[in-house]
């Protein structure tokens, strides 16, 4: 499997290097190159391209190992079969109609390749489910912050996604640009995220609370802040997605599941942090005070809880958790200026699925949303990935608006 991944990577790199000059914009097709293990060209092999309706075109490799463009009708999945006297290879390629991909794909194959084994559905399901669990944990870490802020400050903070992006971008600066070790970068980004949360509270939310503005005002202010911060990040970072780190920890195989080692580390960190937050909420004085404010802020205040101080602490914790989630998300996927905003919508799905205002529900709901998002990619196109997670949100509200663990009175 690892060999296959290496092979695939080499193919991709070759694709980039040899990058075929595009024909006229509306022509679709495949061309390619066949070589042996010593990278010498292989002539005289038959290349066949077929689609759903059977064979579409055929060519024979020339003395340089090249086969000419075999035109196909348009975007879609095609099977490419390469046969010579002692070699047979079959691969499925997809042509996608997007501005970033070529209409004519260059396919480079070596006779030392073996045909990639198509993983069985259960294997792919297992792979996707573990990835989804990973994503779910990331959603949960960020969503618990959202949920705590909702509990103590009483409004849905639409700018919470930008705290996640802040973590991702800070991690990128520290790990990729400054070249710090990934774990150290993650730790520093988390701390800075806490500072960022504190700064938001001091700059916006505390003054607004003092003015006694309404829930609706707070939510609209939060979309304004979200738009401002997101645009500022796009201003500095640009619109492209980039990788988090140059470090490569290799891939680890567990049964049918192959994931980068960084993902397992991320999951480990997530679980530890989630348990830590759970214990903090249930056992520490501040955690108990936080839950007391969520339940009844006025009663908590009369019982001697310093509501303003707890709210401030919650903003710091929420900012730190969001930043950590951003770093891990950057490792899991990539870093971009809108990574947090996209995650925010999945956080909403997780929070509502679990039941607004229940910590354990948020965790369970987030994991369900993460798994749904990743597993559905087996059946729906990857560019509609988030639709699966968001569809869960709408269905839950139709069927059981209080969520899995919520109580009915919370939603009225």
């Amino acid at each position: 499997m690892i060999r296959f991944i290496k092979g695939a990577l080499v193919t991709i790199v070759l694709l980039l290097v040899t990058g075929a000059p595009a024909l006229a914009a509306d022509d679709w097709g495949f061309r390619g190159l066949l070589r042996d293990g010593q990278r010498a060209p292989v002539a005289g092999a038959t290349v066949t391209v077929s689609g759903d309706g059977g064979q579409i075109g055929q060519d024979v490799t020339d003395a340089k190992g090249r086969w000419a463009v075999i035109p196909v009708p348009g975007p879609g999945k095609y099977r490419i079969t390469i046969k010579s006297a002692d070699f047979s290879y079959e691969v499925t390629k997809e042509l996608v109609d997007s501005p970033t991909t070529l209409h004519v794909q260059n396919v480079v194959v070596s006779t030392s390749d073996t045909a990639p084994a198509v993983a069985s559905l259960t294997d792919r399901l297992a792979q996707r489910a573990v990835s989804g669990f990973n994503l779910g944990l990331l959603i949960a870490i960020a969503a618990i912050g959202l949920s705590l802020v909702f509990g103590t400050s009483r409004f849905t903070n639409f700018a919470h996604g930008e705290s996640v992006t802040f973590g991702g971008l800070t991690g990128f600066l520290l790990a990729y640009v400054a070249g710090l070790p990934l774990l150290l970068a993650a730790a520093i980004a988390t701390v800075l995220g806490g500072v960022f949360g504190y700064a938001q509270d001091v700059a916006f939310w505390r003054p607004l609370r003092r003015r006694g503005v309404s829930l609706v005002t707070l939510m609209i202010a939060s979309i304004g802040i979200s738009l401002a911060i997101r645009s500022l990040m796009q201003f500095f970072f640009g619109s492209a997605a980039r990788s988090m780190t140059r470090e490569d920890w290799g891939a680890v195989r567990l049964g049918p599941v192959v994931l980068p080692a960084t993902s397992y580390a991320g999951m480990g960190i997530s679980v530890v942090v989630l348990i830590g937050v759970g214990l903090w909420l249930t056992h520490s004085r501040i955690g108990k005070a936080t839950r007391a404010i969520s339940n009844n802020s006025a009663l908590a205040a009369t019982s001697g809880v310093d509501v303003d101080r707890i709210q401030r602490i919650v903003w710091v914790v929420a900012g730190g958790l969001a930043a950590l989630s951003g770093v891990l998300l950057g490792v899991f996927n990539q870093v971009s200026f809108d990574m947090g905003f996209n995650l925010l919508l999945l956080m909403f799905a997780g929070v509502i699925l679990g039941g607004l205002g229940t910590a354990f529900g948020t965790l369970a709901g987030s994991i369900v949303v993460g798994v749904c998002t990743e597993v559905l990619v087996l059946w729906i196109p990857a560019d509609m990935k988030y639709v699966g997670g968001l569809a869960v949100l709408v269905i839950v509200l139709l069927v059981r608006p209080q969520g899995i663990f919520g109580r009915r009175e919370r939603i009225g």
């Binding site: 997007s98 829930l215 304004g224 979200s226 738009l227 401002a228 909403f348 196109p381």
Partner: protein
């Protein structure tokens, strides 16, 4: 330079945004519904119309009907499960659904109909251009020059905007409009008067959504259809213009849209100056700064002047506890 920016006062984009903001005003200003996904309605209208004409070959009037009916269905889908819940839920569900729609329209899965990430070329506005009574060529209007098509589309757009605004003015003063305002001010009081609050909210959601979809049809007539246009930024721009002009007023959204686009045009030219002076990397990067400005303006407006320019603070009480 300032004359060039003032041209935005009457462009079709300003008119389309004004119309969509009028729809949002029915939700937010009049009824107090927190719709964070008006861009979804605009997208439904734009794509509903363009796809009906280009793929299914419907005539323009029929395509308009289809697009508006789709908006009704979409509003019912959003409203039925969420309107009985707390205000947050509608906000969350509308923003999520608007993104679902945009992801789906952007996806290669439906590219046969929607064009995927490339969007759709304008092969659907012949009905409007064909009915143009203006002499062809460049026409000047005051200090500005328009092509005949642009000017004609602008005229049609503004007629639609004024007709809808007039209709809203009548509705606001009708018993129906007073019930909506009552719901905004105190839902329980309206319940105790025997009003079916959820039904009224649903009607308001449908009406505002249909107006949003109509804005979508207007929005794409002078240009092509681009899925990226319908991002959440579009909705947030509308909130900024709505609160700037005055939520819950009839002409607030129109005034807001006009000021918004003039300011955007002025800042756009400042960005170009900044690029020429070497202060900014390029225009795309500079335009991000303008959206920082929009976000900050929205926060300041909603906190310090929630009634906007035309509004009446004592009437509009979304700022009250």
């Amino acid at each position: 330079m300032i004359w060039e920016s003032l041209r935005e006062l009457i462009t079709p984009t300003t008119a389309a945004y004004a119309l969509a903001a009028i729809g949002l005003n029915v939700h937010f200003g009049l009824t107090g519904l927190l719709n964070f996904g008006q861009a979804g309605f605009v997208a439904v209208g734009a794509y509903g119309f363009a796809v009906s004409v280009m793929t299914f070959g419907l005539s323009a009037p029929l395509a308009i009907v289809v697009a508006l009916l789709l908006a009704v269905v979409y509003a019912l889908l959003l409203g039925v499960p969420t309107l009985r819940l707390r205000a947050d839920y509608l906000a969350i569900v509308t923003i999520a659904s608007a993104e679902i729609i945009r992801f789906a329209l952007n996806s290669s899965a439906f590219a046969t109909w929607t064009g995927g990430a490339n969007g759709l070329y304008n092969e659907y506005s012949d009905w409007l251009k064909g009915s143009n009574p203006l002499p062809s060529g460049l026409l000047s209007l005051g200090p500005w020059t328009f092509t005949a098509n642009d000017l004609w589309i602008a005229v049609v757009d503004w007629v639609v905007v004024l007709l809808v605004a007039g209709g809203i003015r009548l509705l606001v003063r009708s018993p129906w409009g007073r019930v909506l305002k009552g719901i905004r001010e105190d839902e329980h009081a309206m319940l105790s008067l025997g009003k079916n609050v959820n039904l009224y909210k649903l009607q308001a959601l449908v009406l505002g959504g249909v107006i949003g979809a109509a804005a979508g049809i207007l929005y794409v007539q002078p240009t092509s259809v681009q899925p990226f246009d319908f991002a959440t930024r579009m909705t947030f721009n509308m909130y900024t213009m709505l609160i700037l002009g005055g939520a819950a007023t009839v002409f607030g959204p129109i005034l807001g849209s006009m000021i918004f686009w003039v300011v955007m045009s002025v800042t756009d030219q400042l960005v170009s100056l900044g690029v020429d002076a070497g202060l900014l990397h390029d225009v795309t990067q500079g335009s991000q700064l303008r959206f920082v400005l929009v976000g900050v303006a929205l926060v300041l407006l909603v906190v310090f002047r929630p009634q906007g320019i035309l509004g009446n603070r004592t009437e509009l009480s979304f700022d009250a506890k």
